[in-house]
């Protein structure tokens, strides 16, 4: 079975500052990794994904994440955040096409003016 740990439950940051949201996973087999975002009072939507190939993946709204197999990490980064990035971010992992997705506990990003 796989598991996901998001090390920070909340991350406060000032507007236009860089941010990194940390995610570590555990699995005995190869994984597919994802970040989802949940804006206030909305459903979750896919931000970016790693399936194979380049370990640096880019997503919507200027976010990117890097897959590090040796450190079993998939941290999410953005060089300059906006107020509108305030949301809950979830890291997730699955191991096979069609299997269920295992989510981390979420990180609440709070962008302050």
């Amino acid at each position: 079975a796989q598991s996901v740990t998001q090390l920070d439950s909340q991350v406060p940051v000032f507007e236009e500052a860089p941010v990194e949201l940390r995610c570590n996973y555990s699995s005995s087999v190869s994984v597919y990794l994802f970040w989802y975002v949940q804006y206030p009072n909305q459903g979750l939507q896919l931000l970016l994904k790693y399936l194979s190939g380049s370990t640096l993946v880019k997503g919507i709204n200027g976010f990117e994440a890097e897959f590090n197999k040796s450190q079993t990490s998939f941290h999410l980064r953005k060089p300059s955040v906006h107020i509108s990035d305030t949301a809950e971010y979830f890291c997730a992992v699955t191991t096979n096409a069609g299997n269920m997705l295992t989510f981390g506990g979420g990180t609440r990003l709070m962008v302050k003016p």
Partner: protein, 114 residues
């Protein structure tokens, strides 16, 4: 509509009553998932349907919870004899076969058990 539709959006019930939550997935999506999101918690997997295969029920927390998917489309999650700890947002998602992890979520059904 184009997205995953869930109903009701809000449900308040009394302890001990049964509730049904409905999910209408995106047309053509073969996989359907139910998750539960409790206050301050992450997303807890409940059940997964894939085409005509037997569902993966490994996440259902007790035998009071059940789900069905009729005709490979609409799904209903039923909670019998509701308890206060069942209060949560119940999220439904669907996906294409062959698109691992790319789930499309509905906005959820918020259940409050008094």
């Amino acid at each position: 509509g184009a997205g995953v539709s869930q109903s009701p959006s809000n449900k308040v019930t009394e302890k001990g009553k049964d509730v049904e939550l409905r999910c209408d997935p995106i047309s053509g999506h073969t996989a359907l998932y139910w998750y539960r999101q409790s206050l301050g918690q992450g997303l807890e997997f409940l059940i997964y349907f894939q085409g005509n295969s037997a569902p993966d029920k490994s996440g259902l927390p007790s035998d009071r919870f059940s789900a069905e998917r009729t005709g490979g489309s609409v799904s209903t999650l039923t909670i019998q004899r509701t308890q206060q700890e069942d209060s949560a947002v119940y999220l439904c998602a669907s996906s294409f076969w062959g698109s691992p992890g790319e789930l499309f979520f509905g906005e959820g059904s918020r259940l409050t058990v008094l």
